[in-house]
Each structure stands twice: as structure tokens, then as C-alpha cells.
Symmetry: C2
Subunit: 387 residues, 2 copies
């Protein structure tokens, strides 16, 4: 298997972007990544996007966006695993290069979510859950994660305040990120007094609706060395993906995320590393409870200790293991198909030492974890500096 490295990164504007369409946002990110890599051609394109058909009436993004970028002809494929679509885009691009089918691949993600009403948006996102077992009976994603939160609180004594502390930490991180959708700092009291969404989750426990795109350029190692421009080369040392039963009711336990654990184990084994080797991580905090359970599932803390991670300061910038220095989905925003790619953009920035005020000192190994639904799909990547 050929080694694969990240040689370019780019983001579009993120937020409620009223003056740009899906294709405009995507092209912003793609051009930024190509410019960063210093190239103007690629062998293939992958596009992670969850539900462009439901959000903007457009499927077939591969062909559309290759043409939009002036690259008609280049093989271009959309991949989808709900909110893990970006992570899957990265992994699909990795396999293209690892197999030898391509030397340089533009791996991207995009979602344009604000062109529909709130109800239509909720309905589109619900398509990531089991329509027959969850959606028709009336469950929404906040409701499903609220049940996971209640179960975790009952089993491990996780507190309402600990949930809030995840949001407080990620907003603090996001306040240092010029790219974040929400840059205001918040307090535990703010979270606890914000509007109830699905008990025990309040609106400030939830990631927002976001328009945005992200792109990374991947290359085989020989090509990567010619494109380094004096910057560190960032190798994708491990990739792991796994699935789980779609419906929460089909699982034996609501307080764990077996797909995240399996994906992490595969990625760590491939990289020849353990959780103790990780210096910085971007994980899928779609709701505050998600970050807590994900840290346990990844092996970055013991089972049941997830609630204490933000509380103790361990996962804050300046702590032993900063998690979501970008602000995470909570503060940076969550254009669902773009998120998994944007996580890699942040980790690449950290490993380059180019993360500005939110730089984790001496970070040489980073992890991304991106998941779909309530965890029925998870993709984990381990990145490391090799020069």
C-alpha cells in the first residue's frame, strides 16, 4: 500500500452564507486547497455531501463540481455517510492513491443547509436516522442524543454541568478561530439557561446549521515531497471506518459507540500507535454528549470518565490533550458533509504549527473522528508529521 500525505488544505466561508450557492462555496474551498498545494491539476475528486438533493435539489455533485472547477474530465465521485460523509470522502481519496489509481486527489466536503426552512432542514437531517424505526415514530436527532445523554448520566453519574462544560470549552476555542461560525465565549450558566431542545439538551448543547465546504489535497509520498515547499509533510498514518446498527433501539447499549471504537482500533493498528501517542484531536461534537462518549470510545479516556475531561481542563487548549481546538462542530459550525474534511484541515494546520492563537505546542500526531447519525458510521484518521 502506497503512503499518502496531505499537501494542501482549504476552507470556504462558514456560517449562514446567503450570497453563495453550494457550488460557489465548494469552489472557494477547492481553489483554496489547490492554491495551498501550489498545483492546478488533480487525478480525481471526491465530494462528501449528505443530502444535497433534499437541501438544494441537486444530486450528481461529482460531475457538476468537476466542471465548475474547470476540471471537466477528471473522475469525480460523491460519497455519503450522513454526517460522516466528509470522513468517508477522505478515506475514499486515500484508497485511490494507496491503490495506485491516482497520484493526486482533491478530497472535499460540502453542505448548503440554509436554503430550506428549519422544518425542511430537520427533515433532511432525519434522513440520517432509520426512517422506519426512528423517523416515522417521531424521533429527531436532538431527541436521540438526549436519550444517550440520559443513559450516560444514569450509568456513570455524568452531570448536566459536565455536558455544558464541553460547549463552554469549544466556544472558547472557537473564539480563537477566525473561521468559526460562533466566536462568542459562553458560560455554564448560559448553557443551562438556554432554550430546552430535548431534555437534558438545551440549544447551546447543539451544533448549529451551517453552510460551508472544506478541501484537502492528498498525494502519494513521492509527489508530496515535491510539493512540500519547506513545510512539514503530513502523512495519513492510519485510517479506520466501521458501522453499527442504524437505530438506537437495535443496539445493546446507548452509552457506548462501538463503531467509533472499531474504527479507532483499525486506525491505531495501521499507524502503529496508541491513544497515548495523540497530541491533538478533532472529534464529532454534534451535541455535547457526543464529545463525552466519543472520547471514551476512542480510548482517549477511560469508560465513564468522558464527563470529567472538559471539567478538569484536560481537553482544553493548554491541557494535556486538547480536543476540538478549532471550536468543534459546536462553535466552528457543522455543514454536515464538510465536517470530516474540515477536521483534517484543522489537524493539518496544527501539525504544520500554523494554527495561530489556538496552536497546540509541539503537536506531531493528531486524530480526527467523524460520525454519521447516532454513530452508525464512523471514520477515524491518524495524521503525523514525517519531516
Amino acid at each position: 500500500m502506497r503512503d499518502v500525505a496531505i499537501v494542501g488544505i482549504g476552507l470556504s466561508r462558514w456560517g449562514e452564507v446567503w450570497d453563495a450557492s453550494l457550488r460557489t462555496l465548494w469552489t472557494e474551498a477547492a481553489l483554496a486547497a489547490l492554491d495551498d498545494a501550489g498545483i492546478d491539476r488533480v487525478d480525481a475528486i471526491t465530494v462528501g455531501s449528505m443530502a444535497p438533493g433534499l437541501f438544494v435539489g441537486q444530486e450528481h455533485l461529482g460531475g457538476l463540481l468537476a466542471g465548475e472547477l474547470g476540471m471537466a474530465g477528471v473522475p469525480a465521485t460523491r460519497v455519503e455517510s450522513a454526517c460522516a460523509s466528509g470522513g468517508v470522502s477522505l478515506r475514499t481519496a486515500f484508497a485511490e492513491i494507496a491503490s495506485g489509481l491516482a497520484d493526486i486527489v482533491l478530497a472535499t466536503g460540502v453542505e448548503k443547509m440554509t436554503d430550506v426552512s428549519g422544518d425542511e432542514c430537520t427533515a433532511a437531517l432525519a434522513a440520517a436516522a432509520d426512517a422506519e424505526l426512528e423517523v416515522f415514530p417521531g424521533a429527531t436527532f436532538p431527541a436521540l442524543y438526549a436519550m444517550m445523554a440520559r443513559a450516560h448520566m444514569a450509568r456513570w453519574g455524568t452531570t448536566r454541568e459536565q455536558l455544558a462544560m464541553v460547549a463552554v470549552k469549544n466556544h472558547r476555542h472557537g473564539s480563537l478561530n477566525p473561521h468559526a461560525q460562533f466566536r462568542q465565549q459562553i458560560t455554564v450558566k448560559d448553557v443551562l439557561s438556554s432554550a430546552k431542545v430535548a431534555d437534558p439538551l438545551n440549544i447551546l448543547d447543539c451544533s448549529p446549521i451551517t453552510d460551508g465546504a472544506a478541501a484537502v489535497v492528498l498525494a502519494d509520498m513521492a509527489t508530496a515531497r515535491t510539493l512540500a515547499h519547506g513545510r512539514p509533510i503530513i502523512r495519513i498514518a492510519g485510517v479506520g471506518q466501521a458501522s453499527d446498527h442504524m437505530a438506537l433501539q437495535s443496539r445493546s447499549d446507548m452509552t457506548t459507540l462501538p463503531a467509533t471504537t472499531a474504527a479507532a482500533q483499525r486506525a491505531f493498528a495501521m499507524a502503529g500507535k496508541t491513544p497515548a501517542d495523540v497530541h491533538v484531536a478533532e472529534v464529532h461534537d454534534c451535541f455535547t454528549i457526543a464529545e463525552i462518549i466519543v472520547l471514551e470510545a476512542l480510548g482517549l479516556c477511560p469508560a465513564g470518565e468522558g464527563g470529567r475531561q472538559a471539567e478538569s481542563g484536560r481537553t482544553a487548549l493548554g491541557g494535556a490533550l486538547p480536543v476540538n481546538p478549532s471550536g468543534g462542530l459546536k462553535s466552528k459550525g457543522h455543514p454536515v458533509g464538510a465536517t470530516g474534511v474540515a477536521q483534517a484541515v484543522e489537524i493539518a494546520n496544527q501539525l504544520r504549527g500554523a494554527a495561530g492563537k489556538r496552536q497546540v505546542p509541539a503537536a506531531r500526531v493528531g486524530l480526527t473522528q467523524n460520525m454519521g447519525g447516532t454513530g452508525a458510521s464512523t471514520v477515524v484518521h491518524i495524521l503525523e508529521v514525517v519531516s
Copy 2:
């Protein structure tokens, strides 16, 4: 790059299947392919599907279907390139094995199209065209292909009767296929007197709306040899994919399909073969004009000669180069996400010598061509018997 072979094939029921849901149809095809391969585990799953969000309100098919099959845990990814989603599913699975990320992959495609009204179905399919440049102004797919037909007739003298002869040939083939949606033979007169859809195309020039799923099991060559059970091993000798401008108006010529030509050139180069080596082909005859232009684009006949292929009998069973022995999209049916995989099922059956009444004698090299929209995505595979 590791060699990859097909070791199992399966189809669900095809047609207007009122008593089965998307997940039921998919599971029928998946179980048939696993049974054919004689295995009960795989390392990964790919699912080609164009618009399950618009057709049945369900995205995130990877996680959903892995669980449905009793394989929760296995990495499972949906891929989409409109009507080329099945071909892209096959190519993505190929890269998984070629790279070494997996040894055995279940490559599938599915679409459940009859659970919505005709208007909703047309709108869902239109999401494969350029929403801003084609759909909002009012174009539908029959209209777009009708313009391509008119242009081809004007440039090359292709006749209305030659279009009809493609449908007549494919219905004759389909009458020999127990799996085809339409098994009745038709005449040129039937086609010419059928209802007008978009001049010059009548309803019998158009592929139907179909529910269905298809699956193939791919494996690395060493594993494939252990699963041969005395049957010929069928290697995927070449894969090619390419894109084109999405909107017909953005292309320089409406009578050619450059993405198909580029994908074919890549696949032939990788396989070390030429069009003259092909014994049997399954191509994307979503409309009669499509088969005509595709044959030219693939290099299976000279430019401008596509209209004469069915007329002369060359592409019929018994001719020098049988095309769409399964009945093609026209007669076998076209569940859009499944079609690209089903083409590989037919070619595998032909290369095994197991195609019954529609067997092409001594077929050892076959080709599949699957395309999305009016050709903005194309995937070509070349299969050959290696033992």
C-alpha cells in the same frame, strides 16, 4: 496494485415491486451474491444509490444496510454519481481491494423508485441534471436526450427507424432474460406508434422506472482462487472513470460523449486491450439514442455508425458484437443506482458461460459502460476470464 476478481453475483426482483422496501430488495441481492460466492463475511460494503432521500426519505444507506444484513460493524459507504452510482460503487470497491484496505468487498447498487408519484420521480431524476442551468428552465431527461438525438440525426443521418431498432433488439434480448422487467418483444412499428415523450423520442425509446438491487462480491486474486468452486475466475482487468460538463449547453458538441471516451481509453489501457478484443458489452441505453452514441464513444464502432449497429444485426445476439444481451436498461429495467452493478452481473454470467438462452458463445472479454445524467459521469469496466 493488487488484482481484483468477481467471485459472487446476485440480483433482487426487478420491476414494480410493491411488496418490498429498499432495504428488502437490497438484502435479496446481497444475500444472493454472498450465497453465490459461498461466504458469509466481507471486509467492506459499497452501496450505489442515486437519490434514496428523494425517493424514500432515507440517506445513510451504508450504516443502515450493513445492519440489515447482520453485518453491523463492517465499513459501509454509499456512493453516488446519478445513474452511474452502481458503476462507481464497483470502482470504489475495486480500489478498496487494490489498495490492500480490504480483501473481500460486497459492491452493491439499489434504487426504490415506485414509492413516489410520477411527477416526484421525474423531479428526483432531474436532480442528476444541472439544477440552475437545466432543471429550473424546464428541461427533463427525455428532453435532453431528445436534443442529442436530433443533433445526431442532423449530423450523421441517423434515422428515426434506427433509434427504434435499438429498442426492438433490446426487447428481443430481454425476452430471453427471466429477470427482465419487460419480456415482450416489440416491433419498429410499435416504437414509432407509441406515445410521444419528447420529439423524436417515444415512450418505447425510454427505459422504465424500476425497483431493484444488484450485488457482486469482489476479492483479491488469492482469495478469489479459494472461492472459485471450479468456476472460471473473472478478473476486473481495467477500470476507467471520467466526468464532463454537467449541462448539455456547456459542451462543445451534443453528438459525442467525451467522458465515455476518456473512461474507455483508461480502462482499455489498464487492461492492455482494444475495442476489437471485446466479445460482449452491457452499455447504458437509458434512451435508444444513448446506446447509439455510446457505441461510438467507446470505439466499438466508427463515429456516425452507431445508428447502423442494431440495424445491421451486428449488436444483436448472434451478431459479431452482442450489446446488452440482458435486455439493457430498456427491457431489463433501470433502477438507477443498481444498473451499473447489474451490468457486471450480466457480463460475469456471460463469461461464466451461464447466461442460458442469451449466452454469447465463447465470450472471454466483456465490457460494461454506466453513465450519469447526459454523460457528465461515466464508468467503464473491462472483465476477462483468467482461468
